[in-house]
Amino acid sequence: MREIGLAAAVREGMVQEMRADPSVIVLGEDVGKFGGAFHVTHDMLDEFGPDRVWDTPISEAGFTGLGIGAALTGLRPIVEYQYLDFIYCAMDQVVNQAAKIHLMSGGRAKTPLVLRGPQGATGRGAQHSQSVEGYFMHTPGMKVVVPATPYDAKGLIISAIRDDNPVLFVEHKLLYGAASPGGGKALSDSAIQAIGMDVPEAPYAIPLGVADVKRQGEDVTIIATLLMLHRALAVAEGLETEGVSVEVVDPRTLAPLDVETIAASVAKTNRVVVVSEDVSRAGVAAELVATINDHCFYDLEAPVQRVAAANTPIPFAPASERHVIPQVGDIRAAVLRALSD
């Protein structure tokens, strides 16, 4: 099968849904004429025209609100943030409006809305490097999708578009396999291998709320998402040669969270490392630890090892950025701690 990057996979899923369903539209900065800062909406304006692909002013709160209003009245908008760091400009519309309207209306209003964009630390300083999913995992009324492979990304974006709830769809820049807006070469990461890059051309949907065991193992479980999944897999491969069998679970969606698959893995290995690129304190990794405490405490033979970004704004200098964001070595060390504790 074809091998395409995550950017192309997300694009293909969107294009196929737009062909199938005229109510799907796209809104965002430079998504039309320019094809998106990371080219994820490349050529979509040409194919679908300006009534389906809206090049907006720099007004994140405003165009998010427009997306909500359109979602309430028969459309299925996809809103792109040029970097997910900018979603904070629209936070009220996301947290107080989109996520709450369904409940506040007693279930009468539906808000089929996808909020998507790139995130992740790539040397651009504190305002272009954040991982935002923790804030939205903490925001009931929303779903949060975190694809790590092109295959998952295509199946999940299709499900996100078909979903009747607001869905945050997180894309990691280093997984895009596409160039940055600076016009340089595609960003990448040495841990990324060809896993799951076989992406069928026909549309397919991966249900939200179903984790995927990306690697079977017996001795210890790593739970990781997005870029961190690839680093976890690199660690697992390395440890295999040393006789350690590592299971790697990719939740794929954080809300809803597939607790069953996680619990089954913990019951098997009894030792767990959770890895997330977002800020450690009250973030995704904290919730995973708490979920395991809630459901699997008596299965644990050692404390869950929490590996996540340091509790700091992200520094510009590459050496410091690397220290803040979990690296392969950090994950490996955590696995060894989980095994020895």
């Binding site: 109510s23 539209i25 009534d51 389906r52 809206w54 907006t56 002013p57 007004s59 709160a61 405003g62 165009f63 998010t64 609100g65 427009l66 997306g67 909500i68 209003g69 359109a70 979602a71 309430l72 009245t73 028969g74 459309l75 908008p77 009220d92 519309q93 107080n96 409006q97 309207i101 369904h102 409940l103 506040m104 209306s105 007693g106 279930g107 009468r108 209003a109 539906k110 808000t111 089929p112 009931p140 009324g141 779903k143 979903d163 009747d164 709830n165």
Partner: protein, 335 residues
């Protein structure tokens, strides 16, 4: 109408209007008024949970605007939203049941006074975050344009809301894209304790429209027909594809900001002057002056409106209390 300070009185000019329209508008204003008057007493008895914001004295804006809309046109409302709902034909029974936190409420008891919603009536929601409904109505207008439905979308909001950034962002896009949207500033002179001059560098709020290359006009918001005419023109523009309009309706909230708030920041003479310009009394006087209806007929409409609200209260009291875990059904759309 030029300044916020010249308070208009006297009968509304009802000459040459469709009597059925006039009666309907009168009835709607009375229902909105009576609904909130009764709420006030219900809150005094502490039978009512939560809080509420009365629009007493502002009814002509809601009714004037909505009377110019079709049933399938959409609106967004605010924390002060009862009159908008009444005007948009949200059933009084459903509204009252919602206030009582009953399962039969328009939001199944999940929303309450500040979040009344009725999709069957094109009432997209009351948003209690100041300004939040403005882009949402704008999105409904974008949707109408994309779907080619011919609908228009109206956003109601207060004089305080114009200072939220979201107002700016939404109006720019609406104008840029000629969306069929109408923005109604209910300028009731205060945002809680703050006068318009204390919070807006340009207190002529309608004039702000020029920054978006959009027509902006100011009307006597206590004259339901002046409001109606302005809205009708804006609706026509919008439906023709000529884009949005900003309308500033000058009015006054006779009561405090919320429930029992005493509004001590307002001069007594000012309140009295506005009371003398009550929009419902002016409308009644206008109907009589134009010979559309006699006092006795108006009294019958008044009695009918009161009865409708009384019935709504009785209905609401007979409804089922929301259960402890009702909410579980409404967290996400698939529940």
């Amino acid at each position: 109408m030029n300044t916020a300070t010249e308070i208009l009185r006297g009968p509304v000019d009802c000459g040459g209007r469709d009597p059925a329209l006039l009666r309907r508008m009168f009835r709607k204003m009375l229902e909105a008024r009576e609904f909130e008057e009764q709420l006030y007493y219900l809150f005094l008895t502490t039978a009512m949970p939560g809080t509420m914001h009365q629009a007493v004295g502002q009814e002509a804006v809601a009714v004037g605007v909505v009377s110019a809309l079709n049933a399938d046109d959409t609106i967004t409302s605010t924390h002060r939203g009862h009159a908008h709902c009444v005007a948009k034909d949200v059933p009084l029974n459903d509204m009252m049941a919602e206030m009582f936190a009953k399962r039969e409420g328009s939001c199944r008891g999940m929303g309450g006074s500040m979040h009344l919603t009725d999709f069957d009536k094109g009432m997209l929601g009351a948003f209690a975050i100041v300004g939040a409904g403005i882009p949402i109505a704008t999105g409904a207008a974008l949707s109408a344009k994309v779907r080619g439905s011919g609908q228009v979308a109206v956003s109601f909001f207060g004089d305080g809301a114009v200072n939220e950034g979201i107002f700016h962002e939404a109006l720019n896009m609406a104008s840029l894209w000629n969306l069929p949207a109408i923005y109604i500033i209910e300028n009731n002179q205060y945002a809680l304790s703050m006068t318009v001059a204390e919070s807006s560098a340009l207190p002529d709020l309608a004039a702000r429209a020029s920054a978006y290359n959009m027509p902006g006009l100011r009307v006597d918001g206590n004259d339901a027909l002046a409001v109606y005419d302005a809205a009708r023109d804006a609706v026509e523009r919008a439906r023709k594809g000529d884009g949005p309009t900003l309308i500033e309706a000058l009015t006054y909230r006779i009561r405090g900001h919320a429930r029992f708030e005493a509004a001590g920041y307002r001069p007594a003479e000012e309140v009295e002057a506005w009371k003398a310009g009550d929009p419902i009394e002016r409308f009644a006087a206008g109907m009589i002056a134009a010979g559309v209806a006699a006092e006795i007929e108006l009294n019958q409409i008044r009695a009918d409106a009161e009865k409708a609200v009384e019935d709504a209260i009785a209905y609401a009291e007979s409804c089922t209390d929301v259960g402890a875990d009702d909410y579980l059904a409404y967290i996400t759309a698939e529940n």
